[in-house]
Symmetry: C2
Subunit: 336 residues, 2 copies
DNA sequence: TTGTATGCGTTATCAC
DNA sequence: GTGATAACGCATACAA
């Protein structure tokens, strides 16, 4: 069934049906009613491909996610769900595309096949080839995270450096002198993953400012790694009394390590960092941490992208979020 | 840039370019080479909308997910990522569509707009309107979970009843006499959510068979609910020594409640159930549980769907998975 | 082995 | 206020 069928049954031309649907041209109330009756009766909806072809836009966004092999963290997953949700409020569909590994086939298909009107790029590196690719293709896009020299570009990010600094200051205020940063994997840092790199910088900076002794460990995104990492820390720097982390996936392992070492949090050891709110609350005891504002980031990203699509020559905008550190129960004064 | 442009530059007709691309008609090596040169030089890729319109298929699947408001569980999220991954191996893109709440706008758009070649429907209810809708629309689909009377349909599911029975027998073997099922929310059960309903049935069945006293609590999908649920259990039935659960999201809260009650697992209390492997391993101590095989389900679902799309009249197939219960450290003999 | 012509279902530009 | 009709870019049946 197509628009011609509707036209025939309503006794009008195809263009009239089209205009009745889009409202881009006045249609007499009588014919509009007749057309709508037929449409309702037959349950007609315009063919999306035909419409996209004629209109030059697909009413679809692409969300580029890290490959499934590198399992998504809780914050990332919340973000994906929220993006879909927000896009739906704009009547936009979202096409998922795993990328970052080898199969950038999917990414290429989307970029060159004009499959979407715009792209949201998750987990970008400080120097990311896909950014250049999108620019070259002239496809509107917004990145989650920002490249090293963002210049005039569209992005939304969390200010990891600032948040981690705040965490360190908080620990310093509680009289901790030896602290450790549980970062994400060293491969990620080596690849130039912004949050990891900027957290490192912020950590060092604040530690220096407060005269703390600062150590860093790199930890794979999985519980088991969290366990061994923490044991490593205890072995190498037994004097450390507090940890800052951005590694959500390692949290369960950390929890386990703490338990094994018979360390009470926060009496014997303090923990803080940047973590999805749900995870922070799930920790025992609930984590004093900056909650990654996944929903807000999603809303901002989609809104920015919609804006950029509507006006490709608009001046670039961005948002650097600095959510509050929620005081819960995982940090306390250093025990003498 | 379009196929005509390529044809002109290569000095051939448009159809020849098209055939060179699809390989559906032999093309002399000489012209093929010339065409490919031009294509590479200009970085040409056929317009997906035009191709979809002409070909009558979109090379896109839809994955219908629960609305973000009802936060996805770990197992669900692993499933989403895997579906995208597997679809990519078939050169298929995946369109995400939240549904189940009110905004079935997205769902309707996809179904009637011929936006996709097939649909994977997650989290279906025992009696699900969307199933009927898809059947009526004549759109190939595979469901995750099966309706009450599946008849001849395409689906993949986990045999919750059987797995929960196995868990109960395991507990009975360990001499537990009073057990509780920590189910998902009562709304979900009331709505007719298969895994919740079937787990209940299996639980009751096995408990009866072994002469155990069985209780059930319904628990919202969040850590806080897990905490209060467990305290509730302790208050109402202090004699209970073991729990079976399918509620992943409640796990952190459960953990916390156990700790607060100073209950050692498995010495004082045993826990088992059906849980995503990653979560089971993150628990402390690691959970003896049936791991939801998200990747395998994803692979099966996509493969079945691809098969059904290729041959809509093929005889329906389905898969009822019964993953092994991994013995870890959270169950032990009842303490006398 | 290659070219021509038509159709896919809309939108939008004319014309009336 | 409404109708023809030409794009949109590709696939394919039909010719040669």
């Amino acid at each position: 069934m197509n628009i011609g069928e509707i036209a025939k049954r309503a006794g009008v031309s195809r263009s009239t049906v089209s205009y009745a649907l889009s409202g881009k041209r006045p249609v007499s109330t009588a014919t509009a009613r007749r057309i709508n009756e037929v449409i309702d009766e037959l349950g007609f909806r315009p063919n999306a491909s035909a419409r996209a072809l004629a209109e030059g836009r697909t009413r679809t966004l692409s969300l580029v996610i890290p490959p499934a092999s590198s399992r998504l963290t809780d914050a990332q997953l919340g973000f994906v769900a929220s993006v879909v949700e927000v896009a739906a409020t704009h009547d936009l569909d979202v096409l998922l595309s795993p990328s970052g590994g080898d199969h950038d086939r999917s990414f290429e298909r989307i970029v060159t096949g004009r499959r979407v009107d715009g792209v949201i790029l998750m987990e970008i590196l400080l120097d990311d080839a896909r950014v250049a690719r999108l620019e070259q293709a002239g496809l509107p896009f917004v990145t989650i995270g920002h490249v090293e020299h963002p210049g005039a570009s569209w992005w939304v990010d969390v200010d990891y450096a600032a948040l981690i600094r705040r965490c360190v200051h908080h620990l310093a205020d509680l009289d901790h002198r030896d602290v450790v940063l549980i970062n994400r994997s060293d491969e990620l840092v080596a690849a130039g993953y912004g949050p990891a790199v900027r957290s490192s910088a912020g950590f060092q900076e604040a530690a220096d400012a407060r005269g703390l002794t600062a150590h860093t460990v790199y930890c794979a995104d999985e519980p088991a790694a969290g366990l061994t990492c923490f044991e490593d820390i205890r072995r190498r720097w037994p004097e450390v009394t507090a940890a800052v982390t951005i590694n959500e996936a390692a949290l369960p392992g950390l929890q386990q390590a703490l338990h094994r070492a018979r360390l009470d949090v926060p009496r014997d050891f303090s923990i803080t960092g940047v973590v999805a709110g749900r995870l922070a609350e799930g920790f025992h005891p609930p984590l004093t941490a900056a909650d990654v504002p996944a929903e807000e980031m999603a809303r901002l990203a989609v809104d920015l992208l919609v804006e950029r699509i509507a006006d490709p020559s608009a001046t670039p905008r961005n948002a650097l979020l600095e959510p509050a550190v929620s005081l819960r129960s995982s940090t306390g004064a250093r025990r003498r």
